[in-house]
Symmetry: D2
Subunit: 264 residues, 4 copies
């Protein structure tokens, strides 16, 4: 852990977040060499935090040994230049185990995914997340998504019960519900945008206090992702409009056509 | 018609829009006296346009005679102080008839509702709306809602085919789709927010170029609706947050509980 | 009115129902001559009831004069050989007016459509439907569809309040909810299947007590629609499977591709 | 493996399937003693197959050691009296591992759950399932559910590529889509109903060739579950109606109220 809570809040509140894909070779084995190059490239392009082994990073395909190697390689490569956040999820036991491995390896935070398969009432999801958050001495970001979506009141309860919950990442894209949550929970949490084509939501996110988002596009076109983010924060409406119009619209259409979902 | 197209664009682009309920007596007959007082009160509270006989104004319950009386009373009462927009909808024939009645009575524009009952492909909806728009010499606002929802490309086609289409009103609340439409169609149209509890969407609407919205709340608490709108446009985050937190959240909850839908 | 309530229940409970399209000429005027031929053809093919001016019959496009002519021509053509059911809908006032016109013309029943545009709690829909049912001395079939969908308890309340409610037509296709309704309300009502490609639902409908359905396909291929219905009722699984597999599957795909909705 | 493919097809095609909950003690440890009693009780009540460690059996909470113990205890307890089917799922690697553990322990089949977290196009899901099915020498039942829902054409492709796919379990409850699948794929597979309150769907399931279903209710009231199933297969409409009306309706309401989802 190279960053204080305040430093991490600050990193999560300003700047583009990035979610590197995880490199595998043709045999399905983790390729540490190309992955290190990827991380260096991300840092060179000025990301404010790196989220490893997450949705874009194939968390759902990794076993414990893969995960351990990825978090260790990441921490050793990033060397405290930016916060490193690793994913955790599945059952309470598995998620706690992933969180401990990441904390022991020196990661700065955990992005907590929803549980596997089961659909349960919101209070059950709050229990799931609380048990995981209380299992490791590290900051947690809760990913509001899939079978783990929490309403404003449940997010408030989760944050109240877990001082080491630092942020909420939105994977829904329901602006009214997210605005309810932000107005209800306020500055207690940092808010991160995380829908697939986050750039299309970026202006609306920013308007309600979601300053940063995870850019899936960053994996493919980091310069354009950066240019868009800078224009957005500077209020340069012409650049924002041009990029959404010329580029992102078409990729959104493509993505929908293939039903691809790049939830970072 | 008391306003030029440019004056109407301007009125629709800045200031709170209001949708008076239509007054009926216990026997279900239009009550012109209390309705006139309502219109005066709306103007006194500084609305920038008045949308009459719309969703909040019970358009779905009005027959031709009711509608004619309401538009005539409205024009005679408002006397050109702000634009008066009347609803039209149902079949091509009925909607064209409503539009002509409103135009003849001196209204400044038409809010075109989706057709009754039928669900058809988007090109059919574009045909429906085009036929109505071409039936009357008046400006039209298309209400994107219910069984008449159009994607960005269809809105673009509708605007291209109908020079007298001046605006799009959003009744969906899907920020990504609306942003696509705005980035695709651009300044050719004015964009108006129209989801039930529009105040919760107001910051996001504004961030993508939707400067105004129809405030259902204005019917009950005009001072608060105005205070919120002014704070929003001035960027006064504290007032915006307080009003959403203390008031609107609870009314949204109430509305949901009763499944009430105040689509203005 | 040529049929007693019991005769109508019987006709609605056994045999294929049909919903003729309404014939228009190129100028959009009702074409009585070709429409009469269509009705004769329907009767010749052995339908058990004819539903006129409904969804397939462009009810949403008809004005009062169109509607009056269609119901009068229909009653004069059918001459009591099978029950004639006409649609009604829109506002309470309009729907009551349509129902009276149909009753005066000698129709045997009314298919009540949901209200125009408004979305309201279920008790409001029950009020809407009750007011219409109490406005005319004729049997009513409630069409559970669109913005007028009622749960089991609301259907029960509607039937209890209106002795002249004879049937419920399903336009939803949610078998669990429909089964709840049928088990809750029981024999008080007749149940009619009415989703767009009703043949795909036919076996499931029949299994819970929905013996008949409106066949949109009947308009185009009456022999095949009849062959399917007879095989269904006779339990001839081979014919049922072959027709669904070879024919209906492909038309369902086509319909979806064009997003066409032939809600009869 | 105590049963041939034909014996298993037969067991899956006739009789009530059951999904025992997995017994844990207060410390969250598997309780083999009470679990064995549960299995004996299930067999005594005449179930035709036992699905262990599935959705109702907390598959999502089990680690490899838990799973191994449960499948071994189950096989040793059931002793070939009925087929024993174990769940598998998560990533390709994990699901293959679970399948191998179950096959090695002597289970008769695998119920394959959808992958964890990721949402991908249908061809990706087919790949996922095919890789798992090809990793173990055992019969597979594909569970069509959640983020792994396949259309008729994809089910057909999956069955064609994997001779050891014996059945499809429906967790969706869309009768039209399921009927398409059954008419398209036919006798190549056995079809099993698997929505939460399967009894409400049972008549419709049976009508399209889904003879059996997993009864969550069996866990709590095995006599009633059996009585219902026997009446259903015997066509005893009075008993079926009475049980749905008096009992299941209320449990469905309770389940919905708590948003509980007992996907077995």
């Amino acid at each position: 852990m190279a960053f204080s809570v305040e430093q991490m809040r600050s990193a999560l509140s300003d700047g583009l977040l990035s979610f590197p894909v995880t490199d595998f070779d043709a045999a399905g084995k983790f390729n540490a060499e190309t992955y290190k190059e990827r991380l260096e490239s991300f840092i060179k392009h000025g990301v404010s935090s790196i989220f490893i082994a997450g949705g874009t990073g194939e968390f759902f395909s990794l076993d414990e040994a893969d995960f351990r190697e990825i978090v260790e390689v990441s921490v050793a490569t990033v060397k405290g230049r930016v916060p490193v956040i690793a994913a955790a999820g599945r059952s309470v036991k598995d998620a706690s185990n992933f969180a401990k491995i990441a904390a022991d390896a020196g990661c700065d935070g955990i992005l907590l995914m929803p549980p596997f398969l089961t659909e349960c009432p919101e209070d059950g999801v709050v229990d799931y997340a609380s048990q995981v958050m209380q299992s490791a001495d590290i900051q947690f970001i809760y990913y509001n998504r899939g079978n783990g979506i929490l309403s404003a009141e449940s997010v408030k309860a989760l944050a109240a019960a877990n001082p080491n919950m630092v942020a909420l990442k939105d994977g829904v894209g329901n602006i009214a519900a997210l605005n309810d949550t932000i107005k209800t929970v306020g500055d207690r949490l940092v808010y991160i945008g995380g829908v697939p084509t986050a750039e299309i939501f970026a202006e609306a996110y920013l308007s309600i206090g979601v300053n940063t988002y995870s850019s899936a596009v960053f994996n493919f076109m980091p310069e354009m992702a950066n240019k868009f983010y800078k224009a957005l924060r500077a209020g340069d409406q012409t650049v924002v409009t041009t990029i959404i119009k010329d580029f992102l619209f078409h990729s959104a259409v493509c993505a929908t056509a293939k039903k691809a979902t790049l939830l970072a």
